[in-house]
Amino acid sequence: MAYSEKVIDHYSNPRNVGALPKDDPTVGTGVVGAPECGDVMKLQIRVGAGGVIEEAKFKTFGCGSAIASSSLATEWVRGKTLEEAAQIRNTDIVQELNLPPIKIHCSVLAEDAIRAALADYKAKQDKLTA
C-alpha cells in the first residue's frame, strides 16, 4: 500500500505520544476501537482554566493511517476550546492526510476519540459541580 507523505511523517515522527493522568479532573480520556478490529485509539486532553485544551496525548494500536490520524488529532485539538474541538470532522483528517477510501475508518475513529475525550472531561466536570 502506498502511503501519503504526511502519513509517513506522522508515523515516523508521531506528535504527542504519551499519557496524561486519567484520574485528574482536568483531563478527559477517550478510548475507542477494539483489538479484534485491529484499531484502538486512546486520546487524552488537558483542559485549562479558560476552557482551552492546553495539552493532548495519544496512544494508538493500529495501522500507519490510524497512528497518523490520531497524531494529527492531538495537534489539531491543542489550543482549541472544547466547542471548537468538537467541530473537527473526520473528513478534514481524510483531506489533510490524503487517506485512501480503505483507510477512512481510521479518521472516523480519530473523530470518535476526540468526542469521547471531550465527553469524559465534561462528565468529570459535571460530577464536580453536582
Partner: protein, 326 residues
C-alpha cells in the same frame, strides 16, 4: 482446473468434495463455484498447529465423495500437512487425492508414489522460475485419473489445456526445477538454520510473541509470528526495507484478519499482529540478524505507543475491557 476437472468428470460417481479451511483461495473459490452448481463440500478444520485431523477426514468421507484436496505447504503459515497419511486414507476409500504443492515442490522432498497423490499442482515462480507457468501432474495408472478440461479447442496437452505452449517458460521451469532438486538437501538445511536463528533471535529479545502453526511440521523457510499489541501493517511500515507481509499477500486488499489464522483458533486481536517471514535461496545470516534488530526496534517503538501494551503493563486484562467495536 484440478478440482473442477475432477468434479465435472466424476459427477456420476458422486457430488461430495472434501477440502480444508486453510487452503489457498484458488482452491476454496473453486469449491465455492462448484457448490453453486450443486456439489457439496466439507471444509475440514485444523488444530492449533494448523494440521488436519485424520480422524475427522476419515469421518467426512462418504460413498458420494469423489475428491479430497489438501495442500502440501500452507502459503501463509508454512505448515506441512500429513500427506502420506492422507494419501493412504484416500486410497483405502477409493477417493482421488489432489495436492496443491505450489509452496512445496523444490523445497521439500515430494514423491507422489510414496504419498499416494493422484493430482499434484505446482508452479515455477515459487522455485525461482518465471512467473506465468505452472504444472499439473495427473496420475495415468492405478488409477488413471481423467479431468474435464476448462478450455476447449485445439487439443494441446492431450486435450486437457488447449492453447499454444509457452516454450521459453517451459524450458525455464524445467531448469528451475533441476536446480531446486540438485540443491534441495543442502539448501533446506541452510534455510532451516536461518529460520531457527530468526525465531530464536526474536524470542530472546521480545516477550509476548506467538508462533502460528506447528514448528516441527513446517517448510524450512516459513515463519509466521504474532507480535501481540502491535498492529501488523504498522509494523510492516516500520520495516519497509525488509520484504515481509502481514497475512497472505493474496488477500491484502482486504483489512480482514487472516482466515487461515482464524481456522487455527488464533483470536482476531492476535491475527491483526501477525507477520509472515519467508526465507529463501538468496538470504544470508547477516540479513537475518539485521531483520531481528529492525523488528525488535520497531516492535518496541510501536508498543511504547500502543494503548493495549500500556494496559497490559498496568495489569489490566484486555478481555475484561468493554471495547467499542466498529
Amino acid at each position: 482446473m484440478a478440482v473442477k476437472g475432477v468434479a465435472h468428470m466424476y459427477r456420476d460417481k458422486g457430488d461430495h468434495l472434501i477440502t480444508v479451511a486453510t487452503e489457498h483461495k484458488a482452491v476454496l473459490d473453486a469449491h465455492h463455484a462448484l457448490e453453486r452448481e450443486g456439489f457439496r463440500t466439507t471444509f475440514l478444520g485444523v488444530g492449533p498447529d494448523g494440521l488436519v485431523d485424520l480422524d475427522e477426514l476419515k469421518a467426512a468421507i462418504t460413498d458420494q465423495t469423489i475428491l479430497v484436496s489438501v495442500m502440501a505447504v500452507n502459503n501463509e503459515i508454512g505448515v506441512v500437512q500429513p500427506l502420506a497419511e492422507i494419501g493412504k486414507i484416500c486410497k483405502e476409500r477409493g477417493v482421488l487425492f489432489f495436492c496443491d504443492a505450489a509452496q512445496a515442490v523444490g523445497k521439500i522432498p515430494l514423491n507422489v508414489e510414496e504419498l499416494g497423490i493422484d493430482i499434484l499442482a505446482f508452479t515455477a515462480h515459487k522455485m525461482y522460475g518465471p512467473k506465468g507457468i505452472g504444472a499439473l501432474w495427473v496420475r495415468r495408472k492405478a488409477p488413471r485419473v481423467r479431468l474435464e478440461p476448462l478450455l476447449h479447442g485445439g487439443g494441446h496437452e492431450r486435450g486437457l489445456r488447449s492453447g499454444t505452449l509457452a516454450v521459453p517458460l517451459i524450458v525455464a521451469f524445467g531448469e528451475a526445477a533441476e536446480i531446486a532438486q540438485r540443491e534441495m538437501a543442502e539448501e533446506s538445511a541452510r534455510i532451516l538454520a536461518l529460520r531457527t536463528r530468526l525465531y530464536h533471535g526474536l524470542q530472546a529479545k521480545l516477550e509476548h510473541i506467538h508462533l502460528n502453526g506447528s514448528w516441527e511440521h513446517r517448510a524450512p523457510g516459513s515463519l509466521n509470528v504474532s507480535f501481540a499489541y502491535v498492529e501488523g501493517e504498522s509494523l510492516l511500515m516500520g520495516i519497509s526495507d525488509i520484504a515481509v507481509s502481514s497475512g497472505s499477500a493474496c488477500t491484502s486488499a482486504s483489512l480482514e484478519p487472516s482466515y487461515v489464522l482464524k481456522a487455527l483458533g488464533v483470536g482476531d486481536e492476535l491475527a491483526h499482529t501477525s507477520i509472515r517471514f519467508g526465507i529463501g535461496r538468496f538470504n544470508t545470516e547477516d540479513e537475518i540478524d539485521y531483520t531481528i534488530g529492525r523488528v525488535v526496534e520497531v516492535v518496541n517503538r510501536l508498543r511504547d505507543m500502543s494503548p493495549l501494551w500500556e494496559m497490559v503493563q498496568e495489569g489490566i486484562d484486555l478481555r475484561t475491557v468493554s471495547w467499542t467495536g466498529h
